[in-house]
Each structure stands twice: as structure tokens, then as C-alpha cells.
Assembly symmetry: C2
């Protein structure tokens, strides 16, 4: 299973791609961030982000996209931008017919470090150890995106199967048409 | 000036198109809502909404898109969906190279009713009066979208010129190339 993890944001949006199966150490495929200029209006920053998400999907063809779930927090202005960035990531993934699964930051931290309240350094260190890297991916948004992808692999098939069922249900049916049999 | 007002939402997204100039009564061009099914996952609801926004833009070719600014409020789950719906509306408008302007609910109420704390019924009644309709557009989200478009026309050229300058700046420059004059 190839997972694209996306840590949404307008200033920096983290992307991390891993290949893996539950219970085994996943392999890092690619990691990076997309930035959008702060002096551009939000609508145009969302367009830049859309292009970046498209590029990551086309380059790596993931089976599923994991996006960090955004909560309303202290900094209201920034959280709205983050929610909109997450919305664009979800939109683009769904347009490609991919299952989209949201994980909360604490679910990701718990999956990767064993504690839902781990700090950024601890998450980065565990990402490096799991993937056998010399150092955590930089910046932190990139490491968070990789952690999200690892967490998605490790959280196991139950939640994933559910997401795939939802995606399959939502995808336009393209089954070959058969002639209805007439019941005589 | 033709304005498309969008009152963003996943369950109901309001659309209202008016033609007008500051200081005169605008004309209603079209009004309606797009709904997305609550049993679909959010990513796929955003795709449906994207299609709806595209349709409204292509059908009416507005000069500018006014979107209601979303604030974090009591109902956190719903506000995130609304923020993401607003993000999709802004994204699609920006992709068409259109200026996107956000107005707060109280700015809209103040522009249309004279009070930033007017209730929904009052906004609907004023929308009907301004546009010489027999009754307010239904549902309320549709009336709100029209109010947003009227407010955008009436809030005048200053804010609009700013948005257009931002859009022009953000749009890729397509000016004819001239040979630079050499200063001897």
C-alpha cells in the first residue's frame, strides 16, 4: 500500500509518501513541502496548493491519501487557512477517485511514538528511526506528513477498508451495462 | 458589474447573482442553492460543490466573486466544513482569474439592512425590497448569497478596486513585450 500523507497549510504544506503494510517497517518514497507566498491572497494561494497536490498525486500514484484533521484552536485566522488547505487536499484526492482518510494529530503521535502528547522533536526522531534515516525530514511539516502516512499504514486495515468502501461507493459506477433479463 | 455571491456550506451552499453599480438598486440575475448529501464523506462533498461553483461561474460569467468570511464559532465540526466549502469556492473563482472578496456576515447585514446585527428574516425582507421581489429568496442561504452580492456592489469601488488590483497582480502577466529603451 502506498500512502500520501498531507500535513495541510498555506505557508508550508507537508507531503510524505511511504510504501508499507501493517505491522512492518514502511519505506520512505518521497518527502517535501509546498510553500505559497504570504503576500498572495488566500484564493490564489489555494490555487498554488491545488497544483502542488496534483503534482504529488501524479508523481507517486498513491493508493490512499491521509490528511491531518484540523481543529479550531487559538489562532483563528491561521486555522481557517489550514482548514481551507486541508479542503483543497481532500478535494483533489477525491477528484482522483482516491480514498481520503483523516487522522488527528494525537492519533498520529500515538501511532508513531506511543504517546498522543509527544512533541515535534520526538515525532521527528521516531520517523527517522522507523524509516532508518540519518536525521528527521526537515522542515517539521514534512516530518509530520511522513508520520501521518506511517500512522495510516499502521492504524491497520479496519479504518482503511472503511475508507475504501466509502470511496468505492462514492465513485461513479462504470460497470459494463448488461441487458436486463426479463422475468417471464 | 456582475457579482456572484456565495454563502458557503456543505449541506446547502447559497448562490446569488446580481448586476449593479454602487448607489443604485441592483438587478437580480439568478439565485439558488447547491446541496451535497450528508451521507457522503467530506472529500466527495467538496467535489460536488466544486462542480456546482464551476456551473454558476460558467453560466453567469461574473466580474467578481464575493464569499462570506467564515469564523470559528460554537459548532466546530460544522465550521470546518463551512471553511472548506468557502475554500473550494475561492479556489474555483481564482482559477477563473476572478477577483475574490470576502465580506463578514455583519458587513453584509449592515450594508443591506443598516444594522450589523439584523436577523435572517430582516435580511431576507430587505433583499426582497431592494430587488423588488414579491418574497425573499428561499431558502435563507440563497437570500444570504444575494445579500452578499448586493453588499459587494454597495460597499463601493474602494474595496473592489483593491481586490481587482490583487487579482491583476496575481494573474500571470500577458502584456506585449517591448524592447527596453537604452539610456545612452
Amino acid at each position: 500500500m502506498r500512502v500520501l500523507g498531507i500535513d495541510p497549510g498555506l505557508t508550508r504544506c507537508g507531503f510524505g509518501v511511504v510504501d508499507g503494510v501493517p505491522g512492518r517497517a514502511p519505506t520512505l518514497v518521497d518527502v517535501g513541502v509546498a510553500r505559497t507566498p504570504a503576500d498572495l491572497d488566500v484564493a490564489r494561494r489555494l490555487v498554488r496548493l491545488e497544483v502542488a497536490v496534483e503534482e504529488w498525486l501524479l508523481r507517486h500514484r498513491p493508493d490512499v491519501v491521509a490528511v491531518e484533521r484540523v481543529f479550531a484552536q487559538h489562532n483563528v485566522t491561521s486555522v481557517m487557512g489550514t482548514a481551507q488547505a486541508a479542503g483543497v487536499a481532500m478535494l483533489v484526492a477525491a477528484r482522483h477517485g482516491l480514498p481520503v482518510v483523516l487522522h488527528t494529530p494525537s492519533e498520529v503521535k500515538a501511532a508513531v511514538t506511543g504517546s498522543g502528547r509527544a512533541d515535534k522533536a520526538q515525532v521527528g526522531a521516531m520517523v527517522a528511526r522507523i524509516l532508518r534515516l540519518d536525521a528527521p525530514p526537515r522542515p517539521a511539516d514534512a516530518a509530520d506528513a511522513v508520520a501521518l502516512a506511517i500512522a495510516h499504514v499502521w492504524r491497520g486495515p479496519a479504518v482503511n477498508r472503511y475508507a475504501e468502501a466509502v470511496a468505492a461507493h462514492a465513485r461513479p459506477a462504470r460497470l459494463p451495462r448488461t441487458t436486463p433479463r426479463r422475468v417471464s
